[in-house]
Symmetry: C2
Subunit: 347 residues, 2 copies
């Protein structure tokens, strides 16, 4: 495991998408609703936890499996699996989980930017290990997450390779990063760099609690900073303090930006200049694990958008990718997405 | 991930089974037969590889997932999931994969013996990391493995907690360990300790190539050292240099020991004092990954044997456990084995 392949040449390509996010390895376990209650976890949410809490939770967790994750990284892998050219910026430690993360994302064909691999700290209280996300999958396929960011929490402007960012046709940003001031500064700078290069800026709202924490700033971003919004139903409704998703849709239209909004089994809604379009969800025989559903929806949408598809086709492609990833454990695609999309006549 | 729970109290219990094996984390990837050919890997085999080769293979490998593995460890977890009392002896490094291994086996209810967690070597050429097994799963569900043992290769007599071993009703040994002289010495000593304590010694032949390497010694072990033999069809035939499995069965009978022999989709054969009994395999709708099939067969058999079942019932329980583990990715059970076995009237 000491030869994390650097992947395709990073020096020259123009990317369909450059994604920036928290580089994490997911630790997946089966859990019951009682398990969640015992640890005061709100089902379906993502909570940031410190090292001590992560240790307590992991110690009490059942047997698990480890799969590379990280919201924007999942999206980047999805775009690459569809055949898109993707770059990724994130931050891992020079440890085994970091190696696993770098291996898996490069093996999927994603080009890694000037990657920050920092040495773990000798001080055990200062956890500079690769970030990990404890994912509890309940019987209904829903996931509840406790994330210890580790070294991903130190992502800042100095980690932003601006030349790399400027090469993306779309620069895709993970809302989760807004929780950390240095990362927030880096994202604000990435938006400037993208716009200076005439690129689009896409933002994923990531999580309802993330929206609650940053509602005012996220709303402000919709006026000039962000060109494409990804959010689910709850996040959209919370963002506009709306009493219903339908009311929120009206508010989204008023912003004038392109929005791709997911509604789980109810499909998605694309709000474009021509008004909202509702797209049904793909059928899934058995929902095994919803982790990555939103990330892979974004992947399909972004691939379509950067390949001349209309917004509705983009959403259909997003729905197909989301359906694949929730049919099995883990937030990275397992089937050949390009073949699936081609078979469905969506490429 | 810093709080690998020590699991149940290790100080007093009498165990149904004490298992000794190479502590490994499996790195699972989907692969084609062409991938295997490109790397000169014989389909279905396990090859030991050095650090450089492991690095080359991992660098060329597609995206993977990490799951705790190790043949005897898988068996130990299976016995524990059925409700048995199990102890395990193996060797990991004080690194992240080691933490993952220790967490998962303890979380399954296996009691860890005086575990050797050794610090990784500062010399990168001297790989004292936790061992890992690169597992290539082809479309037919067959697995082909390249194992870098890392620190597991240093298991020796000094790691054998004899008092712990003596507490097992059955002491279960992994044939793979025969490849390493210090481990072989430890296993020979474990056999003496077990017999001094009036325990049974069970040996798994692990792999056809392992049988080819150690045929003479394995045959000698059947005369007094081993009381219960686990092997698959190929291993059994090779062990006795037989021209067919039926001929090999005659040779097994002549040894007079108890043998539980697996035949994949053709089920299993138990050779006991009363002669061979053929048991059909459980039906599996879709074989996802055969990794761990033999290990989990042994788990079911050992649970039955230590709970007063006759050999045929033991083999049925083994078949049920094997069927569960091949229905999904990874060599550790995901369904509730105790519930499955109870539902099938086998407990």
């Amino acid at each position: 495991m000491n030869d994390a392949s650097p992947g395709p040449d990073a020096s020259a390509a123009i990317f369909d998408v450059v994604a920036i996010g928290s580089a994490l390895v997911d630790v997946l376990t089966d859990a019951s609703s009682e398990d969640l209650a015992r640890f005061d976890m709100a089902k379906g949410s993502m909570t940031l936890v410190d090292l001590a809490r992560a240790g307590t939770l992991y110690g009490a967790m059942g047997p698990a499996i480890e799969v590379s994750g990280g919201s924007a990284a999942n999206t980047a892998v999805g775009v690459a699996e569809l055949g898109g050219r993707v770059g990724y910026l994130g931050k891992v430690a020079a440890d085994e989980l970091g190696e696993i993360f770098l291996h898996d994302i490069a093996a999927a064909g994603v080009v890694l930017g000037r990657t920050s691999r920092v040495e773990p700290s000798p001080d055990p209280a200062d956890d500079r290990a690769t970030g990990r996300c404890l994912v509890y999958v309940t019987e209904d396929g829903e996931r509840t997450m406790a994330t210890h960011l580790g070294v991903a929490s130190t992502f800042g402007p100095e980690d932003l390779d601006e030349e790399f960012v400027a090469r993306g046709q779309v620069v895709y940003l993970e809302g989760y990063l807004w929780d950390l001031d240095p990362a927030k500064s880096a994202l604000r700078r990435a938006m400037e760099v993208a716009h200076d290069a005439d690129s689009l800026v896409a933002l994923s709202l990531s999580d309802p609690f993330c929206v609650q924490r940053h509602q005012r700033e996220f709303l402000e971003l919709l006026h000039g900073d962000v060109d494409l919004l990804f959010a689910n139903e709850d996040e959209t409704t919370l963002l506009f303090s709306a009493s219903s998703f339908d009311d929120a849709l009206v508010a989204v239209e008023e912003t004038g930006i392109l929005a791709a909004l997911t509604r789980g089994a109810a499909g998605s809604v694309v709000v474009a200049a021509s008004g909202p379009v509702h797209i049904p969800a793909d059928e899934v025989a058995h929902v095994a694990d919803t982790t990555g559903a939103g990330d892979l929806f974004a992947a399909g949408f972004l691939y379509g958008l950067t390949h001349g598809k209309d917004p509705e086709s983009c959403a259909r492609l997003g729905g197909l990718c989301a359906a694949e990833v929730i049919s099995h454990i883990g937030a990275r695609p397992r089937a050949d997405l390009r073949q699936l999309a081609s078979g469905a006549g969506l490429l």
